[in-house]
Symmetry: C2
């Protein structure tokens, strides 16, 4: 039987072990610009300075993978946080794991709204970006610099799958 | 006669004195994630470290101003860059000035596409965020820290206006 992941709603509490959920939290907001703009302030703080790292802004143009989506590996960035912020108001998915060495059985899959971003903490196992529409763009805030900031781990004992037929 | 600003298309060359235009530049791109994602890499580099500053991510929920839009002041951030990245694919406007002390006559107004962001350089005079739809959200990368990072200047000699009737 293929291991189909349960798709959970994303909440601040659920995402806490993995980093920051970046969303419009009214309690952190105040009005600026003569009352015309509400600033939701300091929702996440990038941490990319290790080993002389510098913050950079990039764009990821993601293409939907074949269905059902097969999850056969995870990655992590030991030297810097990585934030994904949707450029269009479309749902997307994150897959993360709290295990020291992830297996298909340790994965958690969250449905993320199009007005929510996430910042993965350093050392947090996550899957590369997963979109639901055929193409979706994301603004990326991560690290430029020396050192090895990418660790990948492919599963030995079977992969996981995500059925998104009801979401497309 | 009111001073109506000409709305110019935004190009990399035109924006160079003011900071970075952040857009999908194919020449800076490469494929990642087994070919499913194109990374447009290092499109801008935030510079927020002065006087102990740290990078933060916030959200601006902008409301359209009364029409025609009246431009009566400009602001600048001496201690850090500030990036605006649209959260929805809607056109928006930036108003900037190269003058040492801006007046209405020195302003330039650019129409920005919904898939383009900008990062204002330190000390660059710009107007607070201007949206065209009734509400538009932006992901913001700027600076948290001590020191005075906001300078505002109100015009003495008359304001400028922007007619966006043809854009709404």
């Amino acid at each position: 039987m293929p291991n189909y992941l349960k798709i959970e709603p994303l909440t601040k509490a659920a995402f806490e072990p993995f980093g920051d959920l970046i969303e419009m939290d009214f309690a952190k907001s105040y009005l600026i610009n003569e009352g015309t703009t509400r600033r939701y302030h300091h929702l996440s703080e990038p941490d990319v300075g290790e080993e002389g790292g510098r913050p950079i802004i990039s764009i990821f143009e993601a293409t939907r993978r074949g269905l059902p989506i097969e999850i056969k590996m995870m990655e992590k960035h030991p030297l810097g946080t990585q934030a994904f912020l949707p450029a269009s108001n479309d749902y997307w998915l994150v897959v993360v794991s709290e295990a020291e060495t992830p297996t298909a059985e340790t994965l958690r899959c969250f449905l993320v709204k199009g007005n929510q971003g996430v910042q993965y903490g350093k050392h947090v196992w996550h899957h590369p970006v997963l979109c639901i529409q055929p193409k979706q763009n994301f603004w990326i805030f991560d690290r430029e610099g020396d050192g090895n900031n990418l660790v990948e781990h492919y599963f030995d004992n079977g992969n996981a799958y995500i059925n998104i037929d009801h979401l497309t």
